[in-house]
Symmetry: C2
Subunit: 336 residues, 2 copies
Amino acid sequence: MNIGEIARRAGVSRSTVSYVLSGKRQVSAEIRDRVTAVIEESGYRPSATARALAQGETRTLGLVIPPMRHHLSVDQLHFVGAVAEAAADHDYDILLSPSGQDRDRAFERMLGERRVDGVIVMETLLHDSRVSTLIERGFPFVTIGRTGSGQEHGWVDLDYAGLVSEGVGKLHALGHRDIALVNRPQELLDREYGPAFRAADAFDKAVVELELHGVARCCDDDDDAAAACVEAIFAAAPAVTAILTINERSLAGLVTALAERGSRVPEDVSVLAIASARNAMSLRPKVSAAEVPAERMGRHAVEALLRRLAEPEGELAHVLLSPPFVDRESLAPRPG
Amino acid sequence: MNIGEIARRAGVSRSTVSYVLSGKRQVSAEIRDRVTAVIEESGYRPSATARALAQGETRTLGLVIPPMRHHLSVDQLHFVGAVAEAAADHDYDILLSPSGQDRDRAFERMLGERRVDGVIVMETLLHDSRVSTLIERGFPFVTIGRTGSGQEHGWVDLDYAGLVSEGVGKLHALGHRDIALVNRPQELLDREYGPAFRAADAFDKAVVELELHGVARCCDDDDDAAAACVEAIFAAAPAVTAILTINERSLAGLVTALAERGSRVPEDVSVLAIASARNAMSLRPKVSAAEVPAERMGRHAVEALLRRLAEPEGELAHVLLSPPFVDRESLAPRPG
DNA sequence: TTGTACGCGTTATCAT
DNA sequence: ATGATAACGCGTACAA
């Protein structure tokens, strides 16, 4: 079933059917009704492909996700769902491209073959080749996470620097003077992954500013690594009484590792995290945390990109989110 | 840049360029090299839209995901990533459609506007309107999870019935005679969600067969619900010494609820789960579990669908996976 | 190897 | 003011 067949059955020309559908021109009530009736009874819908070819836009957005082998976190995965829903609310579809490092064919396909009108890039690095590519080609996009080089582009980001400062401040206010930071894996820090990099930086600054004794450690994204990390922290600084972690994926391991070495939370050690509420609340004690607002970030990203598509010369969106820390059961004043 | 421009620059016809690209016809080495050179230096890639229109296939697969408000589980989300990667490995892209219940516009769009060549349906119900729609329209698809009505279609499923029988058998072999099943939410059971339904059924059968005392309880997908569920279980059957759960999302809550009521795992109560390894291992004690093989299921689904597209009359794929239970620290013989 | 019809909507232009 | 005609977007594949 195509537009020509509808036109034939309704006894009008193809363009008339098109105008009935788009409303871009007045069509007499009589003909409009006749065409509409034929469309109804035949269940006709215009082919997205043909329309895309004619209009030069696909009404599809690309979402560049990190390869699975990086074991996506719950937050990242939620973000994918949130983006899909936000896009659906605007009658846009989301095309997935698992890319990064060696896996770039899907990304190339999306851009080169013009499968999408614009792109959302997840897990942006401070120096990100995908961003450079997109800028070079003049392809509309927004990133989740800022790049560091001041490249001009729209972004939605979580204020890791601010959150870490605030978190350290909270612990400081509770009297803690020996504080550890559990960061994301060293590999990500080396590759200048924004959150890891900015968290490390903000932590160092806060330590100096508040005249604390601070230890920052990278930790692989799993529970076993957390155990090793806890050992390393207390080996380096036995007096630590508070831990701030931005590593959601090892949070459960962190809590159990503390328990296993006999440190009670929060009596001996306070724990503060940046992690999804689901994750923080399923632990015992429930961990105080600032929640990564995946849902909101997804919506912001989609809307920023759609605005860009509507107004290519409009202002770039810069959305910096800073969710509040929610106090649960893992914080206490410095012991002793 | 389009194929006509390439043809002009290379001094050949458009069809020759097309044949150079597709290799569907012999082209003289000289012309081939000339064309290839022009393509190289211009960075030309054929438009996916135009090609889709010409060939009648989009090289895109649709993935129907449940709405976010159902709070996707880690497994489900991993599955999305796995599908995207498997598709990318075959140079296909994945189009996301968050659908189900009221949210069906994206689904309708995918089918009606022919945005995709085939569809993968997640979270299939025993009687699933999406499956009926797909069959009616003769649209190629595979489901994750079987429907119950014997409708003809390809599927990939986890053998919940078999796993529950096996799990109960394991607990029985350890001497347990009072066993509880923690199922998915009542709402899902009512809607005849396959895993919930088949698990309940298999549990009942195993209980009869092995002459056990069994209690089956539905549990909402969160940790608080698990606490209520544990209470309900012991209220109904105080002698329970083993719990089998297929509810991954409340697993952490289940373990802490047991601890909080003073039941030691595994000394007092054994726990066996069907859940992702990540999830089971991050708990203390580490929970013995059969892992939901999201990765494999994703690959199977993509490959089954691609086979179907290649051979529409070929056999329907029926893949029933039954991952092994991995013993960790949550199982012990019946106490006393 | 090339010319050209075709797939399917959209929209500018012409005719009424 | 409406309806019809035709060109266009871009690649594919058959006939010549």
